[in-house]
């Protein structure tokens, strides 16, 4: 895994003419969600996906992680079409979804255990990581003894231990209060800069997307036929103040305006 710098032209995730519809049991018909979607995501990119609720953002993640399969088209991960994508990318769900009967360290060890790493070996790997995840001394606490921010960090630690270079984060901070959310966003950016990973973040918070992402994809119509793409005109490293630049403020207003027009009520 020793890569020198970012290989901007190396595609890690690629959608090729992907279509997907789910079957609505109540109405007995299939509802199209995605149609003819093409996406390229490159190595060590930070991608944000924004869109109103019910716009198919979660469906996109279910497709990438392998919980669903496309009706048409192909999905490439690290340049290959995987027969079974389950276990190929790291997925961090919206709720922390920690197992209440496992301690912090045991929860984090889950993906390693599933790969056949022995318990003691897994714990040895995790202990040094707890420090940078702000969880030092918490390894033997149970989830209900942690704050919301800590739970999310355990969840992210678990996701990053999947060992995959593609991490999918599904509105990870939506349940947190505003202050905690801000510090978690800064923390996540630091983590991403340290790790050699591509992050895809689903969010409905436009500022969050602008602050964190290199590129933003916008889901507006239903079904989604094409993705609108926005390049965030900010360099790295970034600080929260950068969001106050006039160009960013007007971009933010544009995005909010677009989303507002499309809210499905």
């Amino acid at each position: 895994m020793s890569k020198c710098g970012r290989e901007r032209n190396k595609k890690v995730l690629q959608f090729e003419n992907v279509a997907f519809s789910y079957h609505d049991k109540k109405q007995g018909r299939s509802v199209p969600v995605l149609q003819n979607i093409n996406i390229d995501m490159y190595d060590r990119e930070f991608i944000a996906i924004i869109g109103p609720s019910g716009s198919g953002k979660s469906t996109l993640f279910r497709l990438i992680s392998g919980l669903e399969n496309p009706d048409e088209g192909r999905i490439f991960i690290n340049g290959e079409v995987q027969k079974c994508r389950l276990g190929k990318v790291g997925y961090m769900p919206q709720q922390d979804l920690l197992m209440p009967w496992r301690t912090v360290i045991e929860n984090a060890a889950l993906p390693l255990e599933l790969k056949g790493v022995r318990k003691e070996e897994a714990h040895k790997q995790i202990l040094p990581l707890l420090e940078e995840f702000g969880l030092r001394g918490m390894e033997h606490r149970f989830p209900h003894e942690l704050s919301g921010g800590m739970k999310q960090r355990v969840s992210f630690l678990r996701t990053s231990l999947s060992g995959s270079n593609v991490l999918l984060l599904d509105e990870p901070f939506s349940a947190l209060d505003a202050i905690t959310r801000l510090s978690m966003q800064e923390w996540l950016m630091n983590q991403w800069e340290k790790r050699k990973a591509t992050i895809v973040l689903v969010t409905h918070d436009v500022s969050e997307a602008l602050f964190l992402a290199d590129r933003i994809f916008i889901f507006t119509e239903r079904p989604v036929r094409s993705l609108q793409e926005v390049n965030v005109p900010l360099g790295r490293p970034r600080r929260l103040n950068d969001l106050n630049e006039p160009a960013i403020i007007s971009l933010k207003n544009d995005l909010i305006e677009q989303l507002r027009g499309k809210v499905i009520t």
Partner: protein, 250 residues
């Protein structure tokens, strides 16, 4: 802490109950029908030899064998139903309706089949104790979060891993709830089994003393039966606290 504080009123009430009983029994003064609690205790002491050496071990054997079979069969059926929907469809309604059969009325047939051996009593015990274990364990296995299951799948977990790392731990608290109900029922099961036909056992002894109009000797083994139930319940509670530490600390 909270628990011991909470026991005070209950102890007081029980004490009061026995006090009134004692006074009423002395007033009525018909020991063979209403023996006073002190009379029962002295009878317990008097009969300690046959009760503790012969009848208690006999009943305990029935209870322990019955519970062991119930746990294995009950949890086994629950697991089977949770992994096979065909088994669930076939068995679940049967298990529910098996509880509509009055087992006490059915019990004589077991004496016919198994004679006066220990097995006729064990069967009665199993039949009333497996139900809470099966139903609770099954519900517990169903209770595991679907989101967690999907999350494990995205980590590449197979069916077996999902079962052992998710379904089983999620079901454990429910299993213990079932087991707590089962241990209290097991005492009843064993006693009923012994009434129908036995050569030893606390239930058998109590019934035999009834035919001899010895009120205190009817009650003495019942005290022991109740004690068995309470001790078993506490044991299960301790086991539960030990294996569900994550819940206790909340």
């Amino acid at each position: 802490m909270k628990k011991t504080e909470g026991l005070g009123p209950a102890v007081l009430l029980v004490f009061l109950f026995f006090l009134i009983w004692e006074m009423a029994a002395r007033a009525v003064n018909m020991v063979f029908i209403l023996p006073p609690p002190t009379g029962i205790l002295s009878k317990l002491w008097e009969l300690r030899e046959p009760l503790f050496a012969e009848h208690l071990p006999s009943t305990l054997a029935v209870i322990m064998i019955g519970l062991a079979i119930s746990v294995v069969v009950g949890a086994g059926i629950a697991v089977w139903m949770s992994i096979s929907s065909a088994a669930e469809k076939a068995l679940y309604p049967l298990i529910i309706s098996s509880q509509m059969i009055p087992i006490i009325a059915l019990a004589p047939i077991f004496v016919l089949w198994f004679g006066y051996s220990i097995w006729s009593k064990v069967v009665v015990t199993v039949l009333i104790t497996f139900f809470p274990i099966t139903v609770n364990t099954y519900d517990g296995l169903q209770s595991a979060s679907k989101d967690l299951r999907e999350l494990m799948m995205t980590m590449g977990a197979g069916k077996k891993e999902i079962f052992f790392k998710l379904l089983l731990p999620a079901a454990l608290p429910h299993f213990y709830s079932g087991l707590k109900v089962a241990v209290t029922l097991s005492v009843i099961g064993a006693a009923i089994g012994e009434w129908l036909g036995a050569q030893a056992g606390l239930g058998y002894f109590s019934r035999r003393m009834m035919t001899q109009f010895d009120g205190a000797a009817v009650f003495a083994p019942i005290i022991l039966l109740a004690a068995i139930g309470i001790v078993l319940f506490i044991l299960v509670k301790l086991m539960e606290n030990k294996s569900l530490k994550w819940r206790k600390t909340s």
